[in-house]
């Protein structure tokens, strides 16, 4: 049975879901244990069929925390929020469990449980409870980014400094999968937890390295026959002992390494691949040997990591890790890619062989930093099967356990252990592979190293947290500056650049935003998150070719992402094909009904097609999904403005402003509305504020001029307009307004001149208002005006012309706008 379990985990690790599912079904048929149930459900979930896992788990009793967690996750995925909540916390009607109860029940996976629960609360409008859950989750595991992100998004202001710190060892260990530790059941592994962390701290680049401990383990096992080290149970290591292996592997899976950060190397000898973190030499035989394995690269090439320094300093004494050496050697051969320097602390199986692989240069390790290479966390050594128990891995971490098959010991599978840390792509987290430390000293050393590496990670997270928080509170300039100070290898990643791009977008600096986003497209062209903002930026800049290319690329790449359809809709909206744009936005909503921006864009399209009721409904939907979506509040305000319900409009604009106080466009609109409500003083104040915030916004000046004009302050209006003329010399509106001012001032010659300039600048000649303005000027006179008008207007089509108008221009000339000034 254990063999079967091992086989299943191995299949899972290799993404061979059909195999895994098949075997798991047989296992479950054989043994109706809850563990087998969990394993089967995991196989279903990982292969993408959450509904199968859901129905399976529902049909049977789930008492273990893992099963419950997985069932709750399935419920949430299938939008059965009430049910999910009930499973996790007892539901609305029953007595609810307190957070502490949850922590006790779920143990290491409590942080993920609470995060999930927080998500449920937030989606069901209980933001306070949700935020509490998120906070607790973060306090349990500061490596989690998504609770922090969610907190920022709902408007809370979590303090990154408080959140991302390693308070105690306890914390540390609980975050990381214990798996590492487990192994060694026999040995008191000091903690697996701390995987070898790269000390990169200074730079924060911490690579998480998933050294596949497992694999290493397995290797080790095979390798180490002598297993001198007690640590690793030979049994564990030996492939044959699957059973034992299971024991080994079963590391305390509890944590679901969601973040994948913590990857603890698999059991015992995890030989950390060389993460950038320091490597602890694994030398089983005697800790004394100082072989430090500081960095060793699996591949022959040693990577030099820019020494961030810290880790290297520590002489990593060897942690006698068995096998690490051997592992290394193995891995060394295995090429693998991102050679990660790992400070392998992992207690790999100790092999007496000194790692040749390691290029133990003490100096070397330190820099290993940021190897961003894949950080794998093998932590779960779960790998494999065993974890079944506790592992609730949500993510299909590739558990590199090949352990079970370690028989073959193929070399270097270790590499494969690299699991992608999903979120870690952006962050390098140092993964520390736990190594078992045979001796105390090495243990402590290893631990310290790990801690240092984790500190580095925390520091990175703190900075990013601050940047993200600033962005969510729309302190865009600050966000940009914080994020720009990240180390360059982090800065040049999709996530960071997208946030910066978004910050520029919110500041209405569309040129800058476009520049940044095109960089994102260049380095990470598989990224869709954030591309909707890029598409709107291009829409504002009216770059139809670029927008069309973007939307085609995105829709080709991922038809299931709302961002791609939003981009397509924006593209057609720019071409003024509103019906098609509406279709695409509706498709975006179909693909993801919880995506607020799609509703907002759809609302804007409906406004453009004058279907104001539908537009109102869309904006309201957007707000339902995300109450902090200030664009939707703005949209509502615009509709009320069009319907001339000015006080309602002002109220909604104000709500939008409360969320995003530094938007000069919003302030400009509020100013105009206030003017419409006859509160001209306030209007001027607001417009002044807008100009102060963003002096580059020409519309603010324009509207200020028009307010002044309406209040008969002609001189100041003219002054404003003259300045504006300098800034935007080709804008016909400016001349138009100047003309009106002169007209009022009685300087008809200048007025006429400006009107004619305005008409010249208006390429379509469709601004009948201008013509009218000229016309009205001459209203008292009879024929004169007409001839004048004819001279001024473009073609001399006149009313008397027979029916068929052949020219579009004619049409325009005939249809005169009735808007009055």
């Amino acid at each position: 049975l254990l063999v079967l379990q091992a086989a299943i985990w191995q299949a899972l690790n290799h993404y061979a879901y059909r195999d895994a599912v098949f075997l798991a079904e047989r296992l479950y048929a054989e043994v109706h244990s809850e563990e087998a149930l969990f394993l089967l459900a995991t196989c279903y979930y990982r292969s993408g069929k959450a509904y199968k896992a859901y129905r399976l788990l529902k049909g049977h009793s789930c008492t273990t925390p893992q099963c419950k967690y997985l069932l709750a996750k399935c419920c949430v995925d299938l939008s059965k929020l009430a049910e999910g909540e009930q499973i996790l916390s007892g539901g609305v009607l029953n007595k609810q469990k307190s957070h502490d109860d949850i922590v006790m029940e779920f143990g290491d996976s409590a942080c993920f449980t609470l995060s999930l629960l927080g998500h449920v609360y937030c989606k069901t409008d209980r933001l306070a409870k949700g935020s509490e859950c998120y906070q607790k989750s973060l306090s349990l595991n500061p490596f989690l980014w998504s609770p922090f992100e969610s907190l920022c998004e709902i408007g809370e202001k979590p303090d990154p400094d408080q959140t991302f710190k390693l308070t105690s060892l306890q914390n540390f260990s609980s975050c990381l999968p214990n798996t590492c530790t487990t192994l060694v059941s026999n040995h008191s592994i000091s903690h697996r937890q701390p995987e070898t962390v790269l000390m990169e701290t200074p730079q924060d680049t911490i690579e998480l390295n998933r050294i596949n401990l497992e694999s290493s383990n397995s290797k080790y096992s095979s390798l180490n026959t002598d297993s001198s080290v007690s640590y690793i149970d030979p049994a564990v290591i030996s492939p044959d002992s699957l059973g034992s292996g299971t024991a080994m592997f079963s590391k305390p899976p509890q944590n679901k390494p969601k973040t994948g950060r913590s990857l603890l190397g698999g059991p015992a000898a995890l030989t950390p691949l060389t993460p950038s973190f320091g490597i602890l030499p694994l030398d089983t035989p005697s800790p004394g040997d100082g072989s430090y394995l500081q960095n060793y690269t699996n591949s022959s090439s040693v990577i030099d990591v820019p020494a961030t320094g810290a880790p290297s300093k520590k002489a990593v004494s060897r942690i006698s890790q068995a096998g690490t050496k051997s592992v290394f050697s193995q891995s060394g051969n295995s090429r693998e890619v991102t050679p990660i320097f790992a400070q392998t602390q992992s207690s790999g199986p100790q092999t007496s062989t000194t790692p040749q692989v390691l290029s133990p240069t003490i100096a070397a390790p330190p820099n290993a930093l940021p190897r961003r290479s894949s950080r794998l966390f093998t932590s779960d050594s779960s790998t494999t099967k065993e974890n079944s128990k506790k592992l609730k891995m949500k993510f299909p971490p590739k558990i590199p356990n090949r352990k079970t098959k370690s028989k073959t010991n193929k070399g270097g599978i270790t590499q494969p252990n690299i699991n992608d840390s999903l979120e870690i792509t952006k962050l390098d987290s140092s993964i520390i592979s736990e190594g078992k430390i045979s001796t105390v000293t090495p243990q402590i050393q290893a631990f310290t190293l790990q801690k240092a590496a984790a500190e580095g990670l925390m520091s990175l997270l703190r900075d990013m947290g601050k940047g993200y928080l600033a962005l969510c509170s729309y302190n865009c300039k600050e966000a940009i500056s914080i994020l720009s100070h990240l180390p360059s290898h982090h800065y040049n990643t999709g996530w960071v650049l997208c946030q910066i791009g978004r910050a520029y977008f919110e500041l209405a600096e569309y040129m800058q935003a476009e520049r940044i986003f095109s960089e994102v497209r260049r380095i990470e062209n598989y990224r869709v998150e954030g591309m909707e903002i890029y598409s709107t930026t291009l829409w504002h800049l009216q770059k139809d070719v670029a927008l069309s290319v973007l939307s085609k690329d995105l829709t080709d790449m991922d038809k299931n992402s709302p961002e791609a359809w939003c981009a397509a809709g924006n593209c057609f909206s720019l071409q003024r094909e509103h019906d098609i744009a509406i279709k695409f936005f509706q498709r975006a909503i179909q693909v993801d009904p919880n995506y607020a921006y799609a509703y907002t864009l759809l609302g804007h399209e409906f406004v453009l097609t004058e279907e104001l009721d539908k537009a109102l409904a869309c904006f309201r939907n957007a707000i339902r999904v995300n109450p902090r979506h200030y664009n939707a509040w703005y949209g509502l305000g615009m509709i009320y403005y069009k319907q001339e319900k000015f006080s309602l409009a002002e109220m909604h604009f104000q709500k939008a402003l409360d969320i995003n106080p530094q938007s000069s466009v919003l302030l400009c609109h509020i100013g105009v509305v206030q003017h419409a409500l006859k509160k001209s003083e306030k209007a001027l104040d607001t417009l002044n504020k807008a100009i102060n915030i963003d002096p580059k916004n020409p519309l603010c000046k324009f509207h200020r001029a028009s307010v002044l004009f309406a209040n008969e302050k002609y001189k100041s209006a003219l002054q404003e307009l003259e300045e504006l003329k300098q800034i935007v010399p080709k804008e016909s509106l400016v001349y138009f307004l100047i003309g009106k001012v002169y007209k009022k001032l009685g300087q008809t010659h200048l007025a006429l001149m400006n009107f004619s300039w305005a008409m010249d600048l208006d390429p379509k000649g469709a601004n009948n208002q201008i013509k009218e303005a000229i016309d009205k000027r001459y209203l008292p006179d009879d024929e004169e005006p007409i001839t004048q008008e004819e001279q001024i207007s473009e073609s001399g089509t006149d009313e008397s012309q027979e029916s068929s108008m052949t020219d579009a221009d004619d049409t325009q000339l005939h249809a005169v706008e009735s808007d009055e000034f």
């Binding site: 829409w539 028009s706 509106l733 469709a766 020219d807 009735s818």
Partner: protein, 185 residues
Amino acid sequence: MTTPNKTPPGADPKQLERTGTVREIGSQAVWSLSSCKPGFGVDQLRDDNLETYWQSDGSQPHLVNIQFRRKTTVKTLCIYADYKSDESYTPSKISVRVGNNFHNLQEIRQLELVEPSGWIHVPLTDTHKKPIRTFMIQIAVLANHQNGRDTHMRQIKVYTPVEESSIGKFPRCTTIDFMMYRTIR
């Protein structure tokens, strides 16, 4: 005078749409016909396809009624007629009437077509040269070429002027610099 000039074809209305000054609103109206041959009805008149057409099947005048849910500003009507393909089915005299309902219609325009071969733009303006505001438009075909009884009409489009979307009652801005700041999307 002796040989009437042929009616020259107008520009494709799609181009009009792209200027952003007008918007097609036929989809917001209810269309009805005085008569039609099965398979050649309203759908063929509104399908954006110049190959398909409406063929009437009754006595003259043939009517196309366009009724809006609310009083709408209409700037232009575009009709596609092609003498070469329709010959005696091509309308030659069209009257455009507007009003609140069937009993309230008033003719505002009459067109004479002579061997048309494309789009015909019919601006609809009132006495003050502004686009009309109406609940209903009726297009009546009073006579066809060669005195044909029934008529073919290939496509009809109704355009309304686009309202300024920015705030303030100003004409539209012309430069991107202004337009960028006009709205939050």
